[in-house]
Symmetry: C2
Subunit: 351 residues, 2 copies
């Protein structure tokens, strides 16, 4: 689990104090700031740059690639040898970048060597996560999802979670309405998938139920968005992330990984595009989802697989069916006979 969690409106301004005891002589703190904020001088001026610290406008046009992780880590190693810590500020991609770069500061080889389970050998450099979007749960999870040369797969390890998380609801206040919805739905969807899955236990159920309740409260039961909504969505994301500890996601995630791999569709919107058509698998959840889409007046893209070649469909199907634990959680041990290539192709064609 994450060692230290600070939660509260305005707590971002405690960052200098939080980092002070972690600073090592001559080794900088590295702030990876989501490039969404590259012109936000107000936010940048609040980041506690000291000594040789550096602030990197992190390119999250695409979800994190192993090659970008290697590039950043090699730049830092070349310039400083070692760092005091890596601080990710932004959405889920910025969180994942910070986790992966901090791991690569202390582990040899390339980032793609560590895609999988428990492959990381050495404790990472100190790392902290400061979300400016809520829903992915990346702030508490034991993984950092990366697109490598052959697959999209996380570095799942005991060395992956952040040492420190700073949860300041004021930081998510300005998020664009559509993006906030897509990312919030990542939380809602993984709750539905884990609560209806076959792997669930009471630990994950407690967290998942609370996270789902909070999502429904802000996206369905409240009539306008206010500070309280930001606080609840931030906690939904945290609880949703914790719920994954003893559960697994399901059909929406498995299918959207294929989209993401082939088309670069981002995780939040990709899950929405898929979940929109999953009434056969999650009837209750999809009904609530449709209500939330309507109430929040959100556009969910359609027709994104139109015109793809057979070869491209096959690639998505391969990637998706490769996610065995997700399918097993969703459909049981016998999932292969239920989710055939033909059935999955038909589903992809609907999107």
């Amino acid at each position: 689990m994450v060692d230290y969690v600070v939660f509260g409106r305005g707590c971002f301004d405690q960052l200098d104090e939080i980092l002070a005891p972690r600073r090592k002589d001559g080794a900088p703190m590295v702030f990876l700031l989501d490039h969404y904020f590259q012109n936000d001088t107000a936010l940048k001026s609040r980041i506690p740059i000291r000594g040789n610290d550096i602030l990197v406008d992190a390119d999250v046009t695409h979800e994190p690639k192993t090659t970008y992780i290697d590039e950043l880590a090699n730049m830092l190693k070349g310039k400083f040898g070692q760092v005091s810590g890596v601080i990710g500020i932004g959405g889920g991609s910025a969180m994942d970048l910070a986790k992966a770069v901090s791991i690569m500061m202390t582990n040899p080889g390339n980032a793609h060597d560590y895609q999988g389970w428990d492959l990381v050998k050495n404790p990472a450099a100190y790392k902290a996560g400061i979300p400016t979007l809520s829903g992915t749960g990346a702030e508490v999870s034991r993984t950092t999802v990366l697109t490598g040369p052959t697959r999209k797969l996380g570095m799942n390890s005991d060395f992956t979670p952040f040492d420190q998380v700073v949860l300041d609801p004021a930081l998510i206040k300005g998020a664009p309405v559509n993006q906030r919805f897509y990312t919030g739905m990542d939380c809602f969807i993984h709750c539905v998938e884990s609560l209806q899955g076959t792997f669930i236990n009471q630990f994950s159920r407690s967290y998942g139920e609370k996270a789902q309740d909070l999502c429904e409260e802000v996206f369905l039961h409240k009539d306008n968005w206010d500070d309280d909504s930001d606080e609840k969505l931030m906690m939904a994301s945290f609880a949703g992330g914790m719920s994954i500890a003893y559960s697994q996601v399901g059909v929406a995630h498995a299918v959207s990984y294929g989209l993401s791999y082939l088309l670069g569709t981002k995780h939040g919107i990709g899950n929405c595009i898929v979940f929109n058509h999953l009434q056969d698998y999650y009837p209750e959840g999809v009904k609530i989802f449709h209500k939330m889409v309507e109430k929040n007046n959100i556009h969910i893209p359609e027709g994104i697989t139109k015109g793809l070649s057979d070869e491209q469909f096959d690639k998505m199907i391969d990637v998706s069916l490769g996610m065995a634990p997700l399918w097993e959680n969703a459909l049981g041990a016998d999932w292969k006979s239920i989710m055939t290539r033909e059935k999955l192709r038909a589903l992809y064609e609907k999107l």
Copy 2:
């Protein structure tokens, strides 16, 4: 926060594997087992005693005293110099003993030197908590409550939480019905107190609401006790403990600390004795509490302060009014003008 949490029926049998990487040459693991289990050879045979490990039947007749902590720590230092870790197995007292002893293995002086906030200087020896009763939240809290020569007060520090918690719902299955209720109510009562308090934020609210829901489910909405009840109560305790991170308890805890100091009343039952009479402060919560008492056919002692001297009442009032943050959380900044000595005396006389 706790670094590692394992949850699941039967996970106690993973303890050997969990402890293996923490063992240091020649330094034993010390198992502090609640003396409730002193004749439970079946449970004892499942504890992974290796090399010079020792199993101590921990005397929890009274809640942990600083003198008992010093005695245990000095015995261990004399015998082994250092230990690989301290593992507490039992109720809240066994958890608190393990936390405090592990702190005293690496910090000079006496346990009462560290009663307070952030006084512990050195990281504790490795420590793990394995609850056999659920409700106190001691398995996740940042404190270990001790009775010292002059006060009952916790060692609240970043070095206090466990490194590892093992949550096995099968271990709480055999708890005596009354004890299970009293300890479960500790959770319910601290949720009511924190949710109605003035210090609450959304982090603590989310956890507190879930914990309270789970308590009500097992003690009020279900008609018999089964494995699912154990799992839910175990999670209620965990979530309730997390909720305390950003909140505070209130009137019941402040008053019951006085009982405990003077009469040695244990925490769970003490809270029940007090909360039973707090309808003026927590009308909704007390109503639900009365229903749960009735449904579960529990005896809540009455008349325990009968015949006490003025001096004894004064001592309880002194101890209770010393808990300023609890009163402020419950009654606001102006609490001193609300909770006068006379009013508190009248409350103690009712118990």
